[in-house]
Symmetry: C2
Subunit: 218 residues, 2 copies
């Protein structure tokens, strides 16, 4: 039976809606007070695992799930060995560099060498500044990254920005976008290659749903 | 002014109570709907930062906070350069190895070489099995680690256990304790050495509160 890893949080609702378009119903995950981490769809065609966004590529890479839905930001940060199949077009956000609005920095090249950058996305941040040839110290945080510049621990942050409200509330401004991110459908490379459990058929259905959704909004 | 990093979550209430015993009131963090990440105590003697448990040692190491309260498990996992000052005796839990109750494994030495161990505490798990001379593959997860054995991705997990309810609900049993953990008071080593902002005085007051609390429960 096919297993699909779904991400907790912001991408879950749209992920479930997408799978419903292919006849798979995992809406029980959305019920208030749900504590289940794995459920079968009603026709018992497929199973879904409810895991953290950043764990989706792990379950798919290790083959415990053949398919998964995850943000492109996580794929960039984790560099998991999974096949990226479809840009699902929802969950849009961007990986940005932000500084205090009251700081003198208005572009990345204004940042002083050896300054500190706080981030949950340590690899993305390190790669970006390495490619710029700007030596910086990355301060790894796991939450509330905006406290970095506010407390003076870091000159800037690299973080995911959706509406920008958190930045504004904390007196920060974006000065550069590293990349845009949306949700992606990923697959275990082996399962995809050998077409395990009719995975290709489901992928094709999902691809058509996404194409139709794009056509409907144009 | 002294800055103290406090951990969100399970340790917050006891941390605030401890600081109240030394005349510092940060109970505003406990008000429902609180969105503030930093507050001053009423007499403006000290400031508190509200950060993730795993970020407390970062703020203290970088000197943005001179003191912090954090679980010993985080200190073991992060190996931050901070001074450990007082065992605060609250937030008791243990780092354990657990397997499926239906598995044949009843001790760590029953685990097969090259088996998979899922954990959020990658360093603790790696060190432990390295010292046992048992080669294993650590699968890094960021949440719901109990899904590892349930889905068959891993033979065991290394995770923090308080009451054991999550393990029981998921059909897992503990087979070994790596270490016991409680909340600790930590300090920035330099701030501690130079006694910045009268830090020693506050540490002494907190030490007396802890000693009195222990005496009261004996």
């Amino acid at each position: 039976m096919l297993t699909i890893a779904l991400p907790k949080g912001a991408l879950l609702k749209d992920s479930i809606r997408l799978l419903q378009s292919a006849g798979l119903d995992f809406s029980a995950f959305l019920e208030p007070g749900n504590r289940q981490l794995q459920i079968l769809d009603r026709q018992e065609r497929a199973k879904a695992l409810l895991v953290r966004n950043s764990d989706v590529p792990v379950y798919v890479e290790y083959g415990q799930a053949q398919l998964g839905v995850v943000g492109y930001d996580v794929l960039r940060e984790k560099t998991a060995r999974v096949a990226q199949l479809i840009d699902l077009r929802f969950g849009g956000c961007r990986m940005s560099i932000a500084v205090k609005a009251s700081s003198p920095y208005r572009s990345v090249l204004d940042l002083p060498a050896h300054c500190r950058i706080a981030s949950k996305f340590v690899h993305c941040a390190r790669d970006y500044f390495h490619n710029l040839d700007l030596p910086v110290e990355i301060v790894p945080l796991s939450g509330s990254v905006e406290l970095g510049p506010i407390t003076g621990m870091s000159e800037a942050i690299v973080d995911l920005v959706a509406t920008g409200q958190t930045l504004r509330e904390n007196g920060l401004v974006e000065i550069e976008t590293l990349f845009d991110s949306t949700a992606r459908l990923i697959a275990n490379p082996l399962a995809y290659r050998i077409n395990a459990d009719g995975i290709s058929e489901l992928i094709e259905e999902l691809r058509q749903s996404v194409t139709q959704a794009i056509a409907a909004t144009c």
